[in-house]
Amino acid sequence: MSSLVSARNVSKSFGSVRAVDDVSFDIDKGKIMGLIGPNGAGKTTLLKAVLGLTDCEGSLSVLGLDPFRQRKQLMQNICFIADVAVLPRWIRVNQLLDFVESVHPRFSRARAEELLKRTKILPRSKIRELSKGMVTQLHLSIITAIDARLLVLDEPTLGLDIIFRKEFYGNLLNDYFDKERTILITTHQVEEIENLLTDVMFINDGHIVLHASMDALPERYVELMTSGENAERARQLNPIFERDVFGKKVLTFEGIGREKLHGLGELRTPAIADLFVAKVKGAAA
């Protein structure tokens, strides 16, 4: 079985609001999946369902387990950083390592200590004495020292400066990721992870509006930058979205051969952020 996460008709309601509405998808082993959506789209709810933090309707299986009912077994094989690093402020770094070591069978203390040596974090420090960046470094060091099959990151770099964010993703790729592991990540700063992802999933209003591998995107989507008469001709070909950039028109097409647009203007593969806007706004129009 290569499918690590498998969701079939998963829904979750809060009162009358359907935060996640009849969603089905698979995530395979060895992928880095970006889950992208606006605030309130259902990203966090979906992640929580995957992590067994919330119950949901439909059938959801993670590593072959029911995440909500078998959370303990699940947590031995997956890791997550939810939101910004919120470690308990009263605990000391070495106490935190002691605790994780005693409850987590797959945690390597030696590995965590090795990672922490590269930082300015001292073992005797209390979390409240550390800067926000250091807390995230600590959290990431602990998570990285756990030999987990699935790593879930929910806005892991929120509130961190750009140097740290770059380092964070660099370390993630170089030190952590390999073909045996899978990463599921959400962020608002899509541009930063665009080159990292192998797969992408857009979610809006509780629905998945796109689920594709990054390699497949250039075939399926194309952006045409043009103006004037050419723009008018291009519109006949049913673009899914149109926007203005510096007085020029940018039209996004789905499932159309690039040769059809040849000669109408400049062609390129849309950036994830632009594609997301096109899919979400285009569907609304």
Partner: protein
Amino acid sequence: MIANQVALIRRELWEHRSIYVTPLVIALIVSIMAITGQAVVSAFDQAVDIAIIGATNLGPAERAAGITVLMTGVASLLMMAMWVLTVFYCLDALYAERKDRSILFWRSLPCTDAETVVSKLLTAVIVIPLVTFAIIVVTHLVVLSIASAWLAFQGANAWHLIWRAAPLANNWTGTLIVLLALPLWLAPFIGWFLFVSAFTRRSPLLVAILPVVILPMLEKSLVGTSVFFDAFFVRTGSMPLFKGVSTGDIFAYRGDEWSLNGEVPSGLLSLVDLSRFFGSGSLWIGLVVCALFVTAAIYVRRYRDES
């Protein structure tokens, strides 16, 4: 399972240092009072000399009773502090992790919600009493040593008057039983406090105390009965652990001095009546109520979506 409990309970002691700091501070104050007490007494040299001579003449039973009163006095001071500590501990136990939003980190580790809540219950019911007990024993030793030093200074035989007379094992066993029995007897409150700590969005103390005050008042004014009043307040002071006396009456003011009630005791243990304690229906009803609240607390931690 057990390894996880050990780790979780150790975690509680890291977070709630007041579990041992508070009794240590009280022990220190008691010890200082013991020293100053001797100093004050020294001002009445002659009277004290007579008292010591009197003590020399007392029978072993009377001396044992006298020392038992002293030891029980020290122990009950720390026991009262323990209960206050337990209340605040329980109210904080499942609230702090939500307030500082670290709950998601704890839940990202392979510990179930049931394990976590149970570790907090065990901390309140077993760990806090055991820590308090250890500190009581040390305090007893310190206070008796101070008294011995003073007696020796006065030229009396401290070994004979204190150490041979003191029913140490008897008193300590009795103290340990009382310390472990109290949380069981007050278990419904512990359960309620943990439950409040798990669900309330703000001010757990207020949310926990208000119903305890308002329900008996409402009942009295609307129905005219006092079921809630009895369950909340009469229960607190009436632990059926001692032979023929309730906990509230364990000390009696007889004539012109405080002494232990009941039959002439050769130590605290001699007053303990475990069959009466475990034969009490109220105890078991209380434990069931506690179990219900704790289950509810687990349920809340597991099912509530914090975001």
